[in-house]
């Protein structure tokens, strides 16, 4: 009797000790515990946080968002347009409206795109996309600052509190499944070491820290990447006559595409992809010369290829006979009369794709997983698609009582997203290559191809659906 009482006491004490021991092992050096840590508070990272914060399933989960930039407070819409913009497709708008960010954007400013015209500088071939009745916009052009401002505003109002840590960036990530030199981590969770020495343990680390992702390299996830040896020049352009500016224009030059994206009736955003040298030159020349260069790039006929034009004429006439009225009417692009002061900037272009988006307890989203050429304006939309998919997958994990960092669920995310992202990535990379030459046979083939696609309404509808889904 006495022995059994003694034994029970011992066992209670023993278990307390075991508990304490294990807890102390887990919380050594005053580490903080989180369920989900999102590294990177850009558009994609912040919307990931928002998407989780507005979902009932994550009500009792501790979510931390790490952002290296300082807190700018509530976003105030500036008078002037920012030079960095995105074309958000309808499904991104749907995602953003689930937590109210789309409504915020609409209240601030955004410009619908009802028509898209793409043409070749080497021939007369062109393609135009427009929704049949012009009521549903193809996309919306929104400034990056406005998107982020809207998302952050929603994040502050979110029902599940997200711990947003500004000016906090990680010094190191210790990932359990990745062997580190000399030291084997027996810790079951991901440990994030912050710059100020604080430790943060998390069940799931979401890397939304851009193309040079620290999470990706810490997780030793292989990525495929190459530089396009091109730079994108961005600027805010003033247009000649105030019209109903709802058309997105893009012209393929052998050096790269130049695009005007509508911001308002009198302003458009320029994205001009060109060689790094020319980009440097374009940033240095006076504003008047820059405006001339832009107009010249959209209007000049120097690259015209006669053979290609003749071939297209024949094909177009032939197609007109089979599918009458199929081809859309060519519209003339607007004339630029000025450029906003100090709105010119440039950045290098590259392709990055991680071979794997996930590891146990780690997932990559947005540019950390894939970065592509801006010619189709798909980059950020793919990132928002990742957010939507990962949220669903994690929701499923919570419903089935699974560990949030469990590889089973994360693999579903990876499979689903790669199946969607890779074809987009390959298509855009292919288009970039196809249009970066003025070699006559290629020009002829691509011109015939483009004209054919332009006259096939069904195919165009399919392309629009793919690009907006």
């Amino acid at each position: 009797m006495a022995l059994s009482v003694f034994l029970r006491r011992c066992c209670v004490r023993g278990e307390q000790e075991l508990r304490r021991h294990l807890c102390s092992a887990a919380t050594a050096r005053d580490s903080d515990n989180a369920d989900i840590v999102i590294a990177g508070g850009g558009m994609v990272g912040a919307s990931m946080a928002c998407s989780l914060a507005y979902n009932d399933c994550f009500a009792d989960k501790r979510i931390v968002l790490l952002e290296s930039a300082p807190d700018k407070g509530d976003f105030k819409l500036p008078e002037r347009y920012s030079n960095r913009t995105c074309a958000l497709n309808p499904s991104t708008a749907t995602l953003l409206s689930t937590f109210g960010a789309w409504q915020e954007i609409e209240q601030m400013r955004c410009q619908p795109v009802r028509r898209m015209q793409v043409w070749d500088s080497c021939s007369d071939s062109m393609i135009a996309f427009s929704q049949e009745d012009m009521t549903e916009p193809l996309a919306h052009i929104v400034e990056n600052d406005v998107i982020l401002g809207a998302i952050m505003r929603c994040l502050r109002k979110a029902p599940n509190k997200v711990d947003v840590r500004f000016q906090a960036s990680a010094k190191a990530y210790h990932i359990p499944s990745v062997a580190e030199d000399g030291e084997s981590t027996k810790h079951p969770f991901v440990r994030v070491e912050l710059q100020d020495g604080q430790l943060l343990d998390t069940k799931l680390l979401i890397g939304a820290d851009g193309a040079q992702s620290g999470v990706r390299s810490a997780a030793k996830l292989h990525s495929l990447s190459w530089s396009y040896r091109q730079s994108a020049v961005v600027a805010t352009l003033k247009l000649a006559d105030a019209t109903d500016n709802t058309v997105a224009w893009q012209r393929f030059l052998p050096t790269g595409p130049i695009a005007f994206l509508p911001l308002s009736d009198e302003f458009s955003s320029l994205v001009w992809t060109t060689t790094p040298d020319e980009a440097k030159h374009l940033l240095q020349i006076p504003e008047e010369s820059f405006v001339d260069a832009v107009n010249d790039a959209v209007w000049h006929d120097r690259d015209k290829n006669e053979f290609a034009d003749k071939a297209i004429d024949a094909v177009t006439t032939f197609l007109q006979n089979i599918v009458p009225g199929g081809t859309a009417i060519r519209q003339l692009p607007p004339t630029v009369i000025g450029v906003e002061e100090k709105s010119r900037a440039s950045f290098p272009l590259q392709l990055v794709h991680a071979s794997h988006y996930v590891r146990p307890r780690v997932a990559l989203i947005g540019d950390a997983a894939h970065r592509l050429h801006p010619l189709a304006g798909q980059g950020v939309n793919l990132g928002f698609g990742d957010v939507e998919c990962l949220t669903q997958v994690l929701e499923q994990a919570v419903f089935s009582g699974s560990d949030l960092g469990s590889l089973n669920h994360l693999l579903t995310y990876e499979t689903e997203r790669q199946r969607h992202n890779l074809p987009v990535l390959a298509t855009i990379d292919g288009l970039q290559r196809l249009y970066s030459t003025d070699f006559t046979p290629v020009v002829m083939l691509r011109s015939i191809g483009l004209s054919t696609v332009n006259s096939l309404t069904m195919l165009k509808k399919f392309i629009i659906q793919r690009a907006s889904a």
């Binding site: 029970r8 075991l18 508990r19």
Partner: protein, 356 residues
């Protein structure tokens, strides 16, 4: 040196569905040395007696009375009023080496791409199977249908028989249920405990105890909303006794969930030969085809225990996608859900039931 005789060790392996790597580890560890030797020896004798009796069947009663000598009534469900109770997981000292050792073993159990990959991925279908059945049962019984999405099983008490490293116990606990993981192997219990400690929120809802189901029946009969025996039935020596004991734990109107392998040629070819020798899904020797049971036989046993079958699903594992899926054909793996008739009063004298 080993305290476990060969037959007992085998019994432990079979009963607990553990992988062979663990078994030799037991004999060399400090675990047994640290414990009260007398308690240890007694327990082992009981285990052996139980094992023998399961083989013969005639000594069954005697063996049960022996196993009851190590009562398990002191766990969280009951107040510690039973003075004669000795907790089977008694640990008098904790040393760091030991904790580290079990944490390392826990990594083997919990490596989703490792030894137990198929069990981990089975969670994707068996957890929703149990969850949906229990939720609809609760709604049918006029219970509170207003529950949190993340914790639909809150307030339910479940026994996970053959809990192993806790692969199924933890998800059920995360869904809000209070789970008792029962396993005959001390090492498994320690592994499971070492793992669950990392998540204090889950640890509050889980209790692992080293015992056999028969041990539990003595004190806990008719107390649980559900008993889960996933991938266990095919490892026990006497299915009828085992299932009978599981059934006794369930309260009237409660559920029993089992997943196991059918006794067909196909299950021999795919479930034993294929899975063990070619696909290496489980280590060779894990399964003994002679112990498999057909769903009809299992249903008959459940019927004898006053349980009516609600669902019988076939399960299929795709070794290429490494995912489980449901199918109508039950000739390899299958899952069964049966409910205890609610009009029959419980066998034991216990009348207090948790209110919900």
């Amino acid at each position: 040196m080993s305290y476990l005789c060969r037959s007992c060790r085998e019994a432990a392996v079979r009963l607990s569905w553990k992988f062979p790597v663990c078994v030799p580890g037991v004999s060399q560890s400090k675990v047994l040395l640290n414990r009260s030797e007398c308690g240890q020896r007694r327990r082992l004798h009981n285990l052996r007696a139980c094992h023998r009796s399961q083989g013969s069947g005639n000594d069954r009663t005697q063996a049960l009375s022996l196993t009851r000598g190590i009562s398990v009534s002191s766990f969280a469900l009951r107040s510690a009023s039973d003075q004669s109770a000795q907790r089977p997981i008694a640990q008098t000292t904790i040393d760091e080496e030991e904790v580290n050792k079990f944490s390392e073993l826990a990594e083997l159990w919990w490596d989703e791409a490792g030894e137990f990959e198929a069990l981990h991925s089975m969670n994707e279908i068996r957890v929703p199977f149990i969850r949906d059945a229990l939720v609809s049962q609760r709604i049918q019984q006029g219970g509170n249908a207003d529950f949190k999405a993340a914790a639909p099983l809150a307030g339910l008490q479940i026994v996970d028989v053959g809990s192993g490293g806790g692969i199924l116990s933890e998800p059920l606990a995360r869904l809000g249920a209070f789970v008792i993981g029962v396993d005959a192997s001390e090492e498994n219990i320690k592994i499971a405990q070492a793992h669950v400690m990392h998540e204090p929120k889950v640890a509050r809802n889980v209790k692992y105890i080293q015992a056999t189901v028969e041990d539990l029946v003595a004190t806990e009969a008719g107390k649980f909303d559900a008993v889960v025996a996933s991938e266990v039935v095919e490892h026990v020596a006497d299915v009828a006794t085992f299932v009978g004991a599981c059934c006794q734990l369930v309260k009237p109107g409660g559920s029993i969930f089992m997943t196991t392998l059918n006794k067909t040629y196909l299950s021999y070819v795919l479930g034993v030969v294929g899975a063990e020798n070619f696909l290496r899904l489980v280590s060779p020797g894990t399964h003994d085809w002679n112990k498999f049971i057909s769903p009809q036989d299992l249903q008959y046993i459940l019927d004898q225990n006053n349980f009516s079958t609600r669902l019988l699903h076939g399960m299929m594992y795709n070794p290429f996608t490494k995912r489980w899926s449901w199918m109508t054909n039950t000739s390899i793996n299958y899952a069964i859900h049966a409910v205890r008739a609610s009009d029959v009063p419980p066998d034991t004298s216990t009348s207090t039931q948790p209110d919900h």
